[in-house]
Amino acid sequence: MTNKERIAGNVAGYVDDRTGAAKWLKKNLTKVFPDHWSFMLGEIALYSFIILLLSGTFLTFWFDPSQRDVIYNGSYAPLSHVQMSAAYASTLHISFDVRGGLLMRQIHHWAALIFMTAIVVHLLRVFFTGAFRKPREFNWLIGVGLLTLGIVEGFLGYSLPDDLLSGTGIRIAEAIIQAIPVVGSYLSFFAFGGPFPGHVFIPRIYMVHILLLPGIFLALITIHLMLVWYQKHTQYPGPGRTEKNVVGYPLMPVYMAKAGGFFFIVFGVTAFLGGVASINPIWLYGPYTPGQISAGSQPDWYMGWLDGLVRMSPPIETHAFGHTISWNILIPGLIIPGILFTGMALYPFIESWITGDKREHHLLDRPRNVPNRTALGIMSLTFMLISLINGGNDIIATHFHLTINGIMWFTRIGLFTIPPIAFVITKRICLSLQRADRDLVLHGRETGRLVMTPAGEFIEVHEPISAAKAWTLTQHLQDPALAIPNVDEHGVRNPAGIKGRIRARWSTANAEQIPAATVTERKELEDGHH
């Protein structure tokens, strides 16, 4: 035993004597993680969160979350002697009078954008591969919670510097609060400590931004990861991969090196963006005052879809009995987002109700093999994308020589027409891909080589695909639609009521599949050829 090994042994012994960790560690250090690039998307979000904590802490050392008036006398000349809030002045100070301060600010903001981006693509991966199914519904709910909180946290961070753009954002948020029926004006006065903008909003949201929400994030992320750990990761179908096992690399050392290394890579890419690309140049926006505005005022992209919905909303308000209800704010600002996020959160339960599938699933779906779900996902994505486009309609108009009115009408109509079309097209594409899979398994791979038959015909040589590939393309479950009787034994029509009819309709749509190829069919075909 070398000296080093002895010391290591002693340390391990010391710790285990006090914690009994050896048994747990022995088991968990060899924990298996499957390897696939799409499994790194959640990690990008996790690492961005850590980068946000680190860079955010750096910023707190200088940021002064106060709306008291100061006269700027820092080194950015175009604003010298301008009256502004201490929050804005201290953000300028971080940007120009703290070396590396601007870099850290930009890293923080880029990390926030990448955090949200990664959450969304991670969510899409989980959705399209069906990773949310039993037993992982809890983790889906936590994920939806993290996404929602991420939007709020991002918006608060964007609001802190008190520049013209962020002040405009707060102004709009205030209008949404104010529009809430019955309690709106009270809530607004409580949130702002009086009339907008007041002097307390930024100090208050600062505490929420740096303490409350990060704490909740930390708790939720911990549970999210513990569940992944405990339930073991899902895996893509393939030879040797079953519902009963998980195939991959052990935590120690391979996964540790890869995941640990990837943290540095994410940090490196974020630092690169922070170094080369300007983000939120608050010194150009100027300090906030309600009498000023800039052309092209937008929120960050994760709020852009909301802004787009608000922009395209029809001008409807109800005035009755001395009260006003602003549908033009409530519908796009609260009701539609509420429906979307509730629907998203409940989706695992809805799908399991439709399919009647209560089994555990650890093998992921190939999106084409679940055409209905994939089409629904693309439909929702299209909806969001159209809203997002309208959120940037002014920038799009000036850069592509279009009119804001034209884009507005396109998105107003497109919001209702394009998503259903996207659903139908996606479903057809999925079924075509299933058909292609079936053909590939039955007829083999086209080699491009032509041979002449004795009869003088040219035919292309088809090579049979490997057993591994054939298995991967045919292993998926194809459950039939639920049998929900139209008439029960007593002759009562639709015994399950309207719910039953909806369920039957969806279940039938869900079960629309191209049958997977089988050995029997391939044999028959081959026998036919010879």
Binding site: W37, T270, L273, A277, A295, Q298, D300, W301
Partner: protein, 264 residues
């Protein structure tokens, strides 16, 4: 051209021309007789300039703006718009318009400086209006205050021209142009004349000194370096989000694909 000659043969064309000529001669004489000899020479030069301007106008502008700049169904009257307006519209190439689109776009000027000055002198001779200014007259470097200009810009200009003077969208395809290459005198003339969609900013509500400050701020914005790296067009969060999705996420997914690939 056919339309122009039709106007030229209009039955009122000759009397109108005579009246115009008489008025201009009359004014010239009355001014000239009151002035010392050196100024008389200058004003003779001015008269020739006006005549030159009138010729250019008749050839290039009168088909839309009318033979005597009285305006038509497709173009406004130019009586009283002043030399500043002509210097701005013609000097930035917006006039003559290339096509009848939503708004006249800045392009390479068709007339050279002399011709523009002649046109301006002609239009100014029709009725009093704001005079054209030269860059030398604008002492923004000395008298302007950048920070004050910034405040004025954000209150009066940023809503159309964007916080960094990059331009922005108006209704129905019109737009406020970027001010990135705009010369000081053209900025000044635009403020006092209100070309096209742009409103007028009167000297009483924004004083000439304040206008110099605005110019000084715009000049600083034109030269504003990338303090934090590539500027991304200075149009706000749209391009930032786009870069985050493409370069940021693209790089990371690229690395993730490599990371999860099996080494040979």
């Amino acid at each position: 051209m056919k339309r122009l000659s039709r106007y030229r043969r209009h039955k009122f064309a000759a009397p109108a021309l005579i009246v115009a000529a008489l008025i201009s001669i009359g004014t010239t004489f009355s001014i000239a007789s009151a002035l010392p000899s050196q100024q008389r020479m200058e004003s003779t030069a001015q008269t020739t300039q006006i005549a030159e301007g009138k010729q250019i106008f008749a050839r290039g502008c009168s088909s839309c703006h009318g033979l005597n700049a009285e305006g038509g169904s497709i173009a406004p009257s130019l009586i009283g718009v002043g030399a500043a307006s002509v210097d701005f519209q013609v000097g930035t190439g917006r006039m003559p318009m290339a096509d009848m689109s939503q708004q006249a776009m800045a392009k390479k000027p068709i007339y050279n400086e002399e011709e523009t000055a002649a046109l301006a002198a002609y239009v100014a001779s029709l009725a009093p209006g704001p005079a054209a200014v030269t860059n030398d007259q604008l002492t923004w470097e000395r008298d302007g205050n950048t920070a004050q200009g910034g405040e004025l810009f954000r209150t009066n200009c940023a809503m159309c021209h964007n916080f960094a003077a990059q331009g922005g969208a108006l209704t129905n395809g019109k737009y406020a142009p970027s001010l990135m290459g705009t010369e000081a005198n053209k900025i000044y003339e635009a403020m006092i004349t209100g070309p096209q969609s742009m409103p007028v900013f009167s000297d009483k509500t924004i004083t000439p000194e304040e206008k110099l400050s605005i110019i000084k701020w715009i000049k600083a914005a034109q030269k504003e370096p990338g303090l934090g790296g590539a500027s991304l067009g200075r149009v706000g969060p749209v391009t930032e989000g786009l870069l985050g999705w493409t370069l940021g996420l693209g790089l990371l997914i690229g690395v993730a694909v490599w990371l999860a690939s099996k080494a040979r």
